[in-house]
């Protein structure tokens, strides 16, 4: 059995500065060993995360932002925040790095087959939703799902992630994309306002639809009631949580909400599951 | 290992070396056994820096600061003098003798004083055994 604390040796293949203020960068990592790559892709399901590891700086759990079909790399979008993320922001293509994963449950894509998807993302938490949407938009998966609607809100247009791809989505017919920013800007073509308000305005139909929600806690707190108001039942509202983590495999104890561990039993939970757990987010 | 020179950590305030030659010497020509830790002011030297040096196995510690009334930050040197001399007393009661830890307050007109000072200190340290009492780390360089 493999040691669950030992990271895969990886290298950074490409670094993309995502936002105009450069607090968000995407890192594409490639595997040093073939067997690690095979192991990773045999398990990977969008919505999962990895523990990135830089010796001396520790580890940090980061959501996976690439779909498996994109290539032999794994993408992570990292916001500069604490000790680890500051360190990774200083790294360049070609630098070695460690990675453990994929960890967590990911989105139950099989369960959702045949249904409409409503994807709601805010800020940098959009990364795993991006991976999921990309996965679904692939020709071999697209037919499994009905209509796809995405709503992506950022504070301003400069903070929008994956701009070229989202631009392309706007022109596609198999996905309906809404974008929102908090304050109006001159050449902005889309919605202006907070995600909950825009969502209420869009008024998506709850029938046969799954809502997937990832965003900062404030956004989540105000968007959930809107979804409920629109008629989405709690078992069809999915969200992904964040906690401080160390081990990532349910041993070290700190990421629990009630008896569930976010790292092992999550990070994706339905609103129904969360309602049954103590309120400690 | 017998001939190994005593390791010295030199904590140096960046303002007090007035002469260019001395400055250059400290920055580029220090003997290999002396490590320079440049600080913006002697008042910036946290006892933790000193302790890290001690735990890392430094045989001697020199703290260089400005003369009274010459501190760039008005009274950083006074602060350093108060706290660090007490810390020196404290360390000496726990296993790091005072003679291994010296202060040097520099004068503006001082020229070529630091070189003999270090040499003399080194000579003195050579008469002592390598410090082991508070050494807890087995590496040669240490950070601060």
């Amino acid at each position: 059995m493999k040691n669950c604390y030992e990271p895969f040796p990886m290298h950074i293949d490409r670094v993309v500065i995502e936002t105009t203020d450069a607090t968000l960068k995407s890192f594409e990592l490639t595997f040093d060993r073939k067997e690690d790559r095979e192991e990773f892709f045999s398990k990977y399901n969008p919505g999962q995360f990895c523990q990135l590891s830089i010796f001396g700086k520790g580890e940090a759990p980061i959501g996976i932002a690439s779909a498996a079909w994109e290539g032999d790399f794994v993408r992570f979008t990292v916001q500069k925040m604490g000790k680890f993320t500051t360190a990774i922001h200083a790294m360049h293509a070609g630098d070695p790095i460690g990675m453990r994963g994929p960890l967590g449950n990911g989105f139950p894509l099989d369960e959702w087959k045949g249904m409409n998807l409503l994807v709601i993302g805010g800020g940098c938490a959009f990364s795993t939703l991006y991976a999921m949407t990309k996965h679904i938009l692939h020709p071999s998966h697209r037919a499994d799902y009905a209509e796809i609607t995405a709503l992506y809100g950022t504070r301003n247009s400069g903070l929008c992630l994956y701009k070229p791809v989202i631009e392309e989505w706007h022109n596609r017919s198999d996905i309906e994309v809404h974008q929102a920013i908090d304050i109006a800007e001159d050449d902005w073509k889309y919605h202006v306002g907070f995600v909950p308000a825009v969502l209420e305005e869009m008024a998506p139909k709850p029938k046969n639809t799954v809502a997937v929600l990832c965003g900062p806690p404030v956004m989540t707190r105000f968007t959930l009631p809107i979804l409920t108001k629109l008629g989405f039942p709690p078992e069809r509202i999915f969200t992904s949580l964040e906690k401080r983590m160390k081990c990532g495999v349910g041993h070290c104890g700190r990421c629990n909400i009630g008896h569930k561990y976010v790292c092992k039993d999550g990070p994706v939970f339905t609103l129904k599951e969360l309602q049954e757990l103590p309120n400690e987010i | 290992m017998k001939n190994k020179k005593p390791s010295i950590i030199l904590f140096q305030c960046q303002y007090c070396l007035a002469s260019m030659q001395d400055q250059y010497w400290v920055e580029h020509e220090l003997p290999a056994n002396v490590k320079l830790v440049k600080v913006p002011c002697s008042g910036r030297i946290d006892p933790m820096y000193i302790l890290n040096a001690v735990q890392g196995g430094a045989d001697g510690i020199i703290v260089c600061g400005c003369m009274p009334e010459k501190c760039h930050y008005k009274e950083g040197n006074l602060h350093a003098r108060r706290t660090l001399s007490e810390f020196r007393n404290f360390l000496s009661s726990l296993g790091y003798p005072q003679e291994r830890f010296i202060f040097h307050w520099m004068n503006i007109d001082e020229r070529a004083v630091i070189q003999p000072l270090i040499a003399e200190f080194e000579e003195h340290l050579e008469t002592l055994k390598p410090q082991t009492l508070l050494k807890t780390r087995t590496f040669s360089q240490e950070g601060s």
Binding site: G82, K83, T86 | P47, M48, L51, N52, Q55, M67, P68, E69, E75, N77, L78, H79, R81, R82, T83, E86, F87, N89, F90, L91, S92, S93, L94, G95, P97, W105, N107, L133, L134, T136, R137
Partner: protein, 325 residues
């Protein structure tokens, strides 16, 4: 039967709460074990009968002042050491003195559980204090001690058992009188060879399990973030290895130089029975010799590391002497 001391404390607490002079009274109440007392927070005048003070009250109550809601009017039962903490913290601008009401109690000393329970495998079933006598019932039988035999070392070396700066003092005799500053017990340590001192220090420090009970029990440890928790940069090992253990004990003590009131709460909180007040006492003795300063005693004098006094002049003179000589 409540002792007259306790009754007087209760009466004062009741008066304060009834007159709404304070929101809460912090004191001690009976614990769940015969040899432990619990800190308690009385909000209601009806509950004052819980208040008690005896030799088993091992904590320094002033530690709770750091966690009380802002602006709360707090009355606190203080012995000598606690009263000095309050004064020291007020000087450091940690608390507003006008929000505090100190119920001073002349100290009767704190019993040392370690001395009380020399054999840890022989549990204590009851402790009764009667003046100078302390009767302890163990599983193996009864034993009577003189109070002085089982007092905590910090209390034996205490020179200000009488509460200072208190708003009222309970009129009951304490066990000790105030004395001039002297920590002569340190002499035997200072006289040891450097190797022996070092060995003594290591023997204590390296039993540390890094639970930080000493830090949390200390009323003077008021930092928002402790140096051991700091991650950028990481100051020292957070592991229980000698480097980390020694660094913790050295720097913790040093942060208390000229601040520690020598109450010994750290030692009594330590689950591993590590001796550590001697470290801060060593520092404080130096500071007393150098500056004549005792933490928490004077109402206006700042601790030596918060002020520079007339160092500018003194230091200049000293340097001039050096150069002349």
């Amino acid at each position: 039967m409540a002792s007259t001391r306790n009754i007087k404390i209760q009466t004062e607490a009741k008066r304060l709460l009834q007159e709404k002079a304070v929101d809460v009274v912090i004191g001690f109440k009976k614990g769940t074990l015969p040899y432990k007392m619990q800190p308690c927070f009385i909000h209601d005048a009806k509950e004052v009968e819980q208040l008690e003070l005896n030799g088993l009250c091992s904590n320094n109550l002033a530690v709770y002042l750091n966690h009380r809601p802002k602006g709360e009017k707090t009355a606190i039962v203080v012995r000598g050491c606690e009263s000095r903490v309050v004064q020291a913290l007020v000087l450091e601008n940690r608390h507003a003195r006008e929000n505090l009401y100190l119920i001073g109690v002349p100290c009767i000393g704190i019993l040392d559980l370690q001395k009380l329970q020399a054999d840890e495998q022989d549990p204590i079933l009851a402790v009764e204090e009667e003046g100078d006598q302390v009767r302890v019932t163990y599983r193996s039988g009864e034993k009577t001690f003189k109070r002085i035999e089982i007092l905590h070392d910090a209390c034996l070396h205490c020179n200000h058992p009488q509460p200072m700066h208190a708003d009222m003092v309970i009129d009951e005799p304490g066990y000790f009188e105030d004395q001039p500053y002297e920590k002569s017990y340190l002499d035997s340590f200072r006289k040891l060879s450097i190797e022996k001192r070092n060995a003594r220090f290591k023997e204590e420090a390296e039993r540390c399990i890094r639970c930080y009970a000493c830090r949390e029990a200390c009323p003077m440890c008021t930092c928002e973030e402790c140096f051991v928790n700091h991650s950028r940069p990481q100051w020292t090992d957070s592991t229980t290895n000698p480097a980390g253990q020694q660094a913790w004990h050295i720097i913790r003590a040093f942060h208390q130089a000229g601040r520690c009131v020598s109450c010994g709460a750290c030692e009594r909180a330590c689950p591993m029975n590590i001796k550590m007040t001697y470290l801060t006492d060593l520092l404080n003795q130096d500071i007393f010799t150098e500056y004549g300063f005792e933490p928490g005693v004077d109402e206006a004098l700042l601790p030596p590391f918060l002020t520079l006094g007339d160092d500018q002049v003194k230091f200049t003179d000293q340097q001039e002497d050096n150069h002349a000589g």
